[in-house]
């Protein structure tokens, strides 16, 4: 009885502590690994000459992200549902703005950033967030029409085509894949007619194949991925070095800070290829820990969603599961790219890689998750949201 009474007195507004700790753990690992992976570049770069250059910015982004997350947490999920259309519209406007020369900044041939003096905003990251908000609302709103191709499916399809068109103009193929997966995943969970879904899936795969084959730049990446050892100093350079990092890691890694690949061999070691550095320094054990943490996070997101579902809170349910799909698929894409399972895309590892917009939006997404859970707990205990 003591146990029961103890539970009764626990604060009823508690966060999901395990989830919060898992996120804190990922962020801590991120701080250490971004520093480890960026130290050589930061120190050698003539423009910075400061080994803490990336770490300091990373800490700053994380702080901003936690602030934004705190803000997001304050809004009830109903707020997002009410403003879903507006959020999606803001995302679309930003995607259009970034394409305008003078506003959008070009890095490595892609126009993906809007320069805000102190900080480069990446609209595609905002679009991922907006897609979760909007797709969940759409699915709930149109749930009674989801068996209909014309009424249930066509509006969302048109919205997604617009997003796809804008993302491909940047181009940001990786973001497109994530956005599409989130949208289709939420539609699927929301109960879309299976025939429509299958048709959509076939169309999506066809479109992806066509996009790859018709673009020399993407085709090159795919070919480099098929056999990185065919041209390890050209097309396969980055991937071959990433694979070497995995191989060097063995069971327990070469030890923190001892990665050789991060010493100018592996490009983007602190952003898209941070997993390779983790693999090299912590080996298979490190990979299992990281993948395990993400798996737990995703499973938790779906659990929160199912709890909401049991409470007949359909929108928060889809919101939580949408966040789960987002994190899950992006983790898979990123680590898959690092390991040579998938062609190079230019996606960060959520909550881990260096990158301001991604970090802020990922933290905003987990704030949504925590908010849904918090609301679930309150409702279960009979409080109002």
């Amino acid at each position: 009885m003591m146990v029961n009474s103890a539970r009764r007195y626990s604060p009823i507004t508690a966060l999901d502590e395990a989830l919060a700790w898992a996120i804190a753990l990922l962020l801590s690992i991120s701080l250490v690994m971004v520093y480890s992976a960026s130290i050589a570049y930061a120190e050698a770069d003539a423009g910075t000459h400061n080994r803490y250059f990336y770490l300091m910015r990373h800490v700053l982004f994380m702080a901003v992200g936690l602030g934004v997350a705190y803000g997001v947490f304050q809004f009830p999920t109903a707020f997002w549902q009410k403003n879903a259309g507006r959020v999606f519209l803001i995302g679309l406007v930003l995607l259009i703005l970034v394409l305008i020369p003078g506003i959008g900044k070009v890095v490595n041939g892609s126009r993906r950033w809007i320069s805000l003096v102190v900080f480069n905003l990446q609209p595609s990251e905002i679009m991922k967030f907006a897609t979760v908000i909007y797709a969940a609302d759409y699915t709930v709103r149109k749930s009674h029409k989801l068996h209909s191709l014309k009424e249930g499916f066509a509006p969302m399809f048109m919205a997604m085509v617009a997003v796809a068109f804008l993302l491909l103009r940047e181009p940001d193929f990786g973001a497109l894949m994530v956005v599409m997966t989130i949208a289709m995943g939420i539609l699927f969970l929301g109960g879309i007619n299976l025939r429509i879904f299958s048709g959509l899936a076939v169309m999506a795969v066809t479109a992806v194949v066509l996009l790859i084959v018709l673009s020399p730049y993407r085709l090159k990446r795919v070919l480099g991925f098929m056999d990185p050892w065919d041209d390890p100093y050209g097309k396969g350079y980055q991937l071959s070095h990433s694979l070497i990092a995995f191989g060097r890691g063995e069971w327990f890694g070469v030890g923190l800070g001892a990665s050789v690949e991060k010493l100018f061999y592996l490009p983007e070691a602190h952003t898209d290829f941070i997993m390779a550095v983790i693999a090299e320094e912590f080996g298979f054990a490190g990979i299992c820990l990281i993948v395990g943490l993400y798996a737990w996070l995703v499973r938790r997101a779906f659990h929160i969603g199912m709890e909401a579902r049991k409470l007949e809170r359909y929108y928060p349910s889809l919101l939580a599961q949408g966040v789960g799909i987002w994190l899950g698929i992006q983790v898979f894409f990123n680590i898959g790219v690092n390991m040579g399972l998938l062609p190079t895309k230019g996606l960060t590892l959520p909550l881990m890689s260096f990158g301001g917009s991604a970090m802020v939006m990922n933290l905003a997404a987990v704030a949504l998750l925590l908010r849904v859970d918090w609301e679930n707990r309150r409702i279960m205990r009979g409080y109002k949201v």
């Binding site: 050589a40 549902q81 699915t139 709930v140 709103r141 149109k142 749930s143 009674h144 989801l146 995943g185 699927f188 969970l189 929301g190 109960g191 050892w229 390890p232 100093y233 071959s240 070095h241 694979l243 070497i244 995995f246 191989g247 060097r248 063995e250 050789v260 690949e261 010493l263 100018f264 061999y265 693999a279 080996g283 298979f284 990979i287 299992c288 993948v291 993400y294 798996a295 995703v298 499973r299 779906f302 969603g305 199912m306 579902r309 007949e312 359909y314 929108y315 349910s317 889809l318 599961q321 789960g324 799909i325 899950g328 698929i329 983790v331 898979f332 898959g336 390991m339 040579g340 399972l341």
Partner: protein, 582 residues
């Protein structure tokens, strides 16, 4: 909220019915499978592909650095350096790590390296290469200025360059090293192992910009080469080369060689050849100049061979220096043995002094071929002198079983047998004090090596007395006299074999002698190849060079004169040339 809370009228459309747990499980299953695929792939990379990936990694980061051992110094017997290594720098570039060089910097680089900007641009054009030599072996100061230009991707590397202070004087003796630092000729080649030392090794991981990250194996430090002290005396070497060169020029000869041996220890005090070359600058080096003739070339020694059959006859007590012999021409089968300046009879001393073919051959024919072969073989004809010098000739002495009598006769005066100058000079060591044949050595010895007793000391003394008459009035080599010293020697003039027959106008002029004759210290052997400046007789073409080298060497070594009263040289210019038999 409006969408789901109020729409009760069409139950099938309720989200509650559409959002089935089955679909959630389905999505979770897909994500789970994808995550398991990641773990599976990690296992594959770390188990199946691990060796391959580790090797690929090592091929990219792991570098074995050579820690170059400093090559040993070669010195003469008194420590004077004859070959040493000085540090130089090599400029190299890694085009793969370079950005395009601004034209002004490129011009400056070209000016410093004394290359054309186009040449440099061409060398840097292959942007995949990570190592290109721009210029090798330049001075450290210049290298410092090149690196000081601050062009990324251009670096210097320390190397050693071999320097030979004595240049052409010791060229054949010392030899030289190739670009790889390995000995190619001469002592540099012969003693490669000792001089080279052992390069050290460091295995490191390097980052992509070439910085060393860490050592991945124990550092093997280099073992420097040892100092090699030669038996050469550089003062005598200079003298010998200078006099030889003068003799070759004066006699318009094709080539010449000289060897100075210490008659007591068998050490080589000097060895020189003309023509020579500058080992510090071998840009145009033809094989003719590069040949170490004194050791490699073999020739028929002519009359310089005669002391050996005579010594054999005296040793066997078949004759004494004063035994009179019939020296009229005589027939062996269809061939006649004759002297150009024939005399009906001579004593053995005169046979040496006048270099009589008839007398020498008659003494040789007192012995069966086998005995004569054994003696020639014992003094080292037909076998390598074991000097350790690369490519040394062993000469040619045919097996006695195939000797015909006329051949045995001609071999007594140096035809039908060929030797190198080194072999010939060494053979003369039996005429020093104790009648021992000494091994020759190019490295300094701390005492004489044990020799091989071939003739009695008394025989050796008698031979020297007879050979002293060669440089005295009436001898064939009066020009080989040395002021204050008695010189025992023998001249030789041999026709050269050209395509199997003896040429009428190609000769080798030789003089081999010992001094002081009463207690020999030095043996000097001089060969002048194809003299065309008038006389070609050994006494005339090689004698003066011998005299100058012998006189200078004895003075350098501070040898006490054994004929202090002999303070005038015979006026050789007035005297008729006493020509030996060819």
């Amino acid at each position: 909220m409006r969408a789901y809370s109020l729409n009760q009228r069409t139950p099938p459309a309720s989200p509650a019915l559409r959002m089935t747990p089955g679909r959630v499980k389905c999505v979770l299953l897909v994500l789970g499978v994808l995550f398991l695929a990641l773990i599976g792939r990690a296992v594959y990379l770390q188990v199946v592909q691990q060796d391959f990936l580790l090797n690929q990694g090592e091929a990219r980061f792991r570098r074995a650095l050579v820690l170059e051992a400093n090559r040993g110094v070669i010195t003469d017997r008194n420590g004077e350096p004859l070959a040493l290594s000085s540090p130089v720098q090599t400029i190299w570039a890694s085009p793969a790590d370079m950005e395009p060089v601004p034209p002004a910097k490129l011009r400056e680089l070209a000016r410093l390296l004394e290359m054309s900007p186009a040449d440099i641009a061409a060398k840097l054009s292959d942007r995949k290469r990570e190592f290109v030599y721009l210029k090798r072996q330049i001075s450290p100061e210049l290298a410092e200025r090149v690196v000081g230009l601050g062009i990324p991707g251009i670096a210097k590397q320390q190397e050693y360059r071999r320097f030979y202070p004595a240049g052409e004087v010791t060229a054949h003796l010392i030899g030289f090293t190739g670009v790889d630092g390995k000995g190619q000729e001469g002592v540099e080649l012969a003693r490669e192992k000792m001089l080279a030392g052992k390069n050290g090794r460091r295995v490191v991981l390097k980052d992509r910009r070439g910085h060393i990250i860490e050592d991945v194996a124990a550092i093997e430090s280099p073992k420097n080469g040892q100092t090699l002290t030669l038996s050469i005396d550089h003062r005598i070497q200079y003298l010998a080369y200078r006099e030889l060169k003068a003799a070759v020029e004066e006699n318009k000869a094709k080539a010449g060689s000289v060897i100075v041996l210490d008659g007591r220890s068998g050490e080589v005090l000097a060895m020189a050849n003309v023509p020579s070359y500058n080992p510090n600058n071998r840009k145009e080096l033809d094989l003719e100049r590069r040949r170490n003739r004194a050791v490699i070339d073999q020739f028929e020694p002519g009359s310089t061979m005669k002391p050996f059959p005579v010594a054999m006859a005296i040793e066997a007590r078949k004759v004494t220096p004063h035994t009179w012999m019939d020296t009229r021409p005589y027939m062996i089968g269809p061939a006649t043995v004759r002297d150009t300046h024939s005399q009906p009879s001579m004593d053995v001393t005169t046979i040496i002094q006048k270099s009589s073919n008839v007398g020498a051959s008659k003494m040789a024919l007192m012995f069966p071929p086998e005995t004569m072969w054994q003696f020639y073989d014992a003094v080292g004809f037909g076998r390598g002198p074991q000097s350790g010098f690369p490519g040394e000739a062993s000469g040619r002495l045919r097996n006695w079983k195939s000797w015909r009598p006329i051949e045995q006769a001609t071999m007594s005066f140096g035809y039908g047998v060929s030797v190198s100058l080194l072999q010939l000079a060494r053979a003369y060591t039996i005429f020093t004090d104790d009648g021992q044949l000494l091994p020759v050595s190019f490295t300094r010895l701390n005492g004489a090596m044990p020799g091989k007793q071939l003739i009695r000391p008394e025989t050796a003394r008698q031979m020297r007395e007879m050979m002293m008459t060669v440089t005295q009035a009436g001898g064939t080599a009066t020009r080989a006299q040395v002021l204050g010293f008695n010189v025992a020697g023998k001249s030789g003039t041999a026709r050269k074999l050209v395509n199997g027959s003896y040429a009428a106008n190609k000769h080798v002029g030789l003089f081999v002698g010992l001094a002081p004759a009463t207690r020999p210290r030095l043996i000097v052997a001089v060969m002048v190849d194809e003299p065309t400046g008038g006389s070609y007789y050994g006494g005339t073409v090689a004698g003066p060079a011998f005299a100058n080298i012998m006189a200078g060497s004895l003075r350098i070594l501070g040898v006490e004169p054994d004929a202090p009263s002999n303070n005038t040289l015979l006026p050789v210019s007035d005297m008729p040339e006493v020509r030996e038999e060819t």
